[in-house]
Homo-oligomer: 241 residues x 2
DNA sequence: CGCATACTTGAGCCGAATCAATTGGCGTGG
DNA sequence: CCACGCCAATTGATTCGGCTCAAGTATGCG
């Protein structure tokens, strides 16, 4: 099978052969990690950027042995480290949530890409742009939504992010995330996450079991969460035209 | 006086004459806004990126006539719109907090810069990188700090951001921000922000009046807020070497 | 001097945290 | 194939931080 990354870029732009080759180079090396392993710890010096080729990972910060903030999940086709590209040491932990396969590559490869392809350079700005939009929406959740809305919004966010490139079978999708992790993403306690998810289930917004979620009434969920359907849309890379 | 932007870039890198000219072009046009004016409303189509040449502004999102999220303040020398570069419409409001002077310039100017100077291109990645670090720290505040810690952290953040390029006179600095705005940055009510600030004052962490804050015991404040002194440090742009 | 816009303070309430069990699922080994 | 043990999910009781509502006080400005 072709590279997930190349496929993803093809959603944004047309790729020349040279450009495809440049991208393929980012995924030459593949490394596997087991669920729960820290791929790259906070403070660890690293010259590498990563691509997720299979599985789920997350970026987090732990203080005080017990309080953790989870900034984002990184899925198949996402980059990790782009936003920290100018820091010598990684500021946060990068952890395998499921068993994963990731592709580390040196930052220098990016410089080469930037140099050789204006179009790819712009696409990377787009990608960072989208990452920032996700963070902004998370800030809204954390600051101004209650627990039920937070959980609802998160579910919609990942439903959308998954279905962007995968299959969306009747709103049902894989969601192998422990409630503790959701709690640390949303600034809640795991217990309250549980209560909120059960309330969503009880009121027929969603249904779920240990590893799958099904959205039963998407529109009502969107209303509840005040979900902005645009913020995850495919970024535009042709602002030069 | 020279351009603030050029001066700021000089903190990061050496600039050739050509590069300086490219940057100066971004600040050719200057526009003034009065305190409270919306410089560029959410949803408004815009081809422009902005530079702040004087004053304070903020980026925010308002829903429901009463719930607002303020993502960040943008000060002298900051960019606005970089992170939204690939969206046709601005996703959020950009508002003048004090009387300000801003410099709008078309996105196309950036493409030219990226094309002509690898070094400047990398510097822009660095700038975005730092912006992201600020957002991550805000996520920690919103998710896992209590009101007192949130306020303490915010004060330290802006103290640091101001002193990076300005003068830091005995920890006292201008802080013309209404408590409502702090509340909407931290996900609190204005009333609770008030109580928290007064508690910080009562316990001699800080002193303040309507427009200035003075940090009385920086180390104690840093401990309270669990402030990471590194996250705002000058990003590195030489990751290619 | 008077109005408007913050800032301040108090009382009561509520959403979410914490503490404390209990249940259920699943992998492992006997 | 079942029993054990672990870990996540669930449920209940209680507490508490921060919100809301409601007044009152500065501060600045025309």
């Amino acid at each position: 099978m072709g590279s997930c990354m190349v496929e993803k870029f093809r959603h944004y732009i047309e790729l020349s052969d040279d450009e495809e080759a440049l991208l393929l180079r980012l995924e030459e090396k593949k490394v596997k990690y087991k669920s729960g392993e820290t791929i790259r710890g906070k403070g660890h010096e690293s010259e590498d950027i990563y691509t997720i080729s299979d599985g789920w990972t997350y970026i987090a910060n732990t203080i005080d042995q017990g309080t953790r903030s989870v900034f984002d999940l990184k899925l198949n086709g996402d980059f990790v480290g782009l936003g920290e590209i100018s820091f010598d040491n990684y500021l946060y932990d990068f952890v395998a949530l499921t068993d994963v396969e990731v592709c580390p590559f040196p930052k220098q490869h990016l410089n080469e890409i930037f140099k050789k392809s204006e179009k790819l350079n712009r696409t990377f700005y787009s990608i960072i742009s989208r990452e920032q939009a996700i963070l902004f929406e998370r800030l809204i959740s954390l600051g101004r939504r209650n627990a039920l809305e937070k959980v609802a919004h998160l579910i919609l966010e990942f439903s959308t992010r998954k279905s962007a490139f995968g299959v969306d079978i009747e709103g049902s999708f894989e969601f192998p995330i422990k409630q503790d992790l959701i709690a640390d993403m949303l600034g809640l306690s795991n217990i309250h996450v549980n209560r909120s998810m059960n309330e969503l289930k009880r009121h027929k917004y969603i249904d779920y079991d240990r590893r799958n979620i099904q959205i039963l009434d998407k529109q009502r969920l969107i209303n509840l969460a005040n979900f902005n359907v645009n913020f995850l849309k495919r970024p535009d890379v042709s602002w030069h035209t």
